[in-house]
Amino acid sequence: MAVLKFEKALSRLETIVSELEGGELSLDESLKIFEEGVKLSKTCLKMLDDAERKVEILVQDKDGRKRIQAFSVEDSNSTES
């Protein structure tokens, strides 16, 4: 799953949605690709969640956070003076 790129997954999902919307499939096939689609969608969501979490972690770094505020204050002061 790790090697599956997000974009590829998304593209596959799109195909699946189209096929399902086409309505030409047998119930079995529909179910099968639906299942695949759901899994893909979940995988993608997880990937996004992971990315989001990662970004949030990166962004919400204790030291980083503070410093940025400190800098901002300092910066604003220095530009004021």
């Binding site: 997000f6 998304l10 999902l13 799109e14 699946i16 949605v17 096929e19 399902l20 919307e21 309505g23 499939l25 119930l27 529909s30 179910l31 639906f34 689609g37 759901v38 969608s41 993608c44 969501l45 996004l48 990315a51 989001e52 970004v55 949030e56 990166l58 962004v59 940025i68 800098f71 910066d75 220095s78």
Partner: protein, 455 residues
């Protein structure tokens, strides 16, 4: 001489006379009648030939007579003859035969009005004055502190005693060399001149005192003698004259470099007062020391002032410390500034990255994903629903075609239990067999009691 010779020749021819005889008679007559006699008159036409005799005319308002003063007499004169001089003369009348001139042969000559000495004095004074002998410019200054003093005076008498006494009292330092001389009389002039010259020759004398005690004009006369005056004037050693009393001024006084009225006065004049000199020396020493000390003091003040102007080391170095401090501060400020600059750049990058963080994209993708999920579910639901509709359609048609409706009308279907076949003819079963009859509602299991053949 010639005249005196002819005066001894007697006259022999009274009637016929030769010029010479007559002249001789006239001469003897005159000489006999006019023995030595005093005549008063004024000198004029004075001639001074090299013979040393003096020829002149003696005249008054209306008359004149020739006069001769022979050399021996001339030399005895204290004063000098000159035209216009009113004189009394003592002489005999005589004739100068070669010319037939009568004349006075003078034995003595006195100035009229003043004494001969007086006249001589005045005449010599005038002469020497004319020569510039008395010029102040000629006068040498006296040494202030003479060491060796020459005395030209009489070694005896009160004068030298007083002089020596005063001199030693005032100036014990002085060495006195006495050149003893007669100060009057015939020898005086020569001795005085000799002494002056001798002392000059000796040298090493600082000053000469030439003089004597008081006396009459005659007594003092040696100091009016020309050679004495000249000796004084030409002395290389300064000469102080000290002749007679205050009122008597001799030519020596005039010629001397300095005149003291008396020998005692000369002593005071020539030597300084020892006490004064000591005082003077002491004063000099005071001035020496004072000026030396004040010089040292002044220099000391100058040095001190300059030393005081040397800067305080701390102040001198303070400038440099300040320079270093200033540079260090700048260094610090610049470095801080530089760090801050870098920080600002970094922060701007950081915020740019922050601003472009992938959350937005993630959220967008999330939304897209959700939308797709919705479509997915909708798709499958639609699919299933369609199939259900179709199925239900067929089921309803099936139900419409249900054969069970026949049964509902009272028909039933009988199956042989033995072979399960539908029993369509009575012969299909035998009595005693069981059959099942399917009704509209429910079934019956029936025992065949009998069979009836088709009719």
């Amino acid at each position: 001489m010639c005249l005196s010779n002819s005066s001894h020749v007697p006259g022999l021819f009274p009637s016929l006379l030769t010029v010479s005889a007559l002249t001789r008679q006239i001469r003897s007559t005159l000489e006999q009648n006019f023995p030595s006699l005093w005549v008063e008159g004024e000198i004029s036409n004075l001639r001074c030939p090299s013979s040393g005799h003096r020829y002149f005319t003696l005249k008054d308002q209306s008359s004149q007579i020739r006069a001769v003063l022979f050399r021996s007499q001339v030399e005895r004169l204290k004063f000098v003859l000159q035209d216009g001089l009113e004189v009394f003369v003592l002489g005999r009348v005589s004739v100068y035969e070669p010319r037939g001139d009568y004349q006075l042969l003078l034995e003595a000559l006195e100035p009229k009005g003043i004494g001969a000495l007086q006249l001589a004095f005045l005449q010599l004074k005038a002469k020497l004055e004319a020569e510039g002998l008395f010029e102040p410019a000629r006068k040498k200054s006296l040494p202030q502190y003479p060491q060796r003093i020459g005395l030209v005076t009489s070694p005896v008498g009160a004068a030298i005693h007083d002089l020596l006494t005063i001199m030693h009292r005032r100036w014990p330092f002085a060495q006195v060399l006495i050149a003893p001389v007669a100060v009057q009389g015939d020898e005086a002039v020569g001795q005085i001149v000799g002494a002056i010259q001798a002392l000059n020759e000796l040298g090493e004398l600082d000053v000469l005192i030439v003089g004597r005690g008081g006396g009459s004009l005659e007594d003092l006369w040696a100091f009016n003698e020309e050679c004495v005056v000249r000796a004084i004037a030409s002395s290389r050693i300064p000469v102080v004259s000290a002749v007679g009393h205050e009122t008597d001024v001799t030519l020596s006084d005039l010629a001397a470099d300095c005149r003291a009225p008396t020998p005692s006065a000369a002593a005071e004049l020539v030597v300084p007062d020892c006490f004064t000199v000591r005082h003077h020396l002491g004063h000099h020493q005071v001035r020496l020391e004072r000026s030396m000390r004040s010089m040292i003091a002044a220099r000391t003040v100058r040095v001190q002032v300059q030393t005081g102007r040397l800067p305080e080391p701390r102040l001198m170095l303070g400038k440099f410390v300040q320079q270093v401090d200033d540079l260090e501060r700048q260094l610090y400020v610049r470095m801080k500034h530089w760090c801050r600059n870098l920080q600002m750049r970094l922060l701007s990058h950081q915020s740019a990255i922050w601003e472009r963080n992938p959350l937005y994209e993630i959220h967008r993708q999330q939304r897209a994903l959700i939308e797709r999920g919705t479509r997915l579910v909708r798709g499958i639901s639609g699919c299933i629903l369609a199939k259900r509709h179709q199925t239900e359609l067929w089921v309803s048609q099936l139900n419409q075609l249900s054969p069970l409706a026949v049964l509902a009308r009272g028909y039933s279907i009988v199956h042989s239990l033995r072979d399960g076949k539908v029993v369509k003819k009575s012969t299909d079963v035998s009595a005693g067999e069981s059959v099942r009859a399917r009704l509209h509602e429910g079934e019956l299991i029936c025992l065949v009691q009998r069979t009836h053949p088709p009719s």
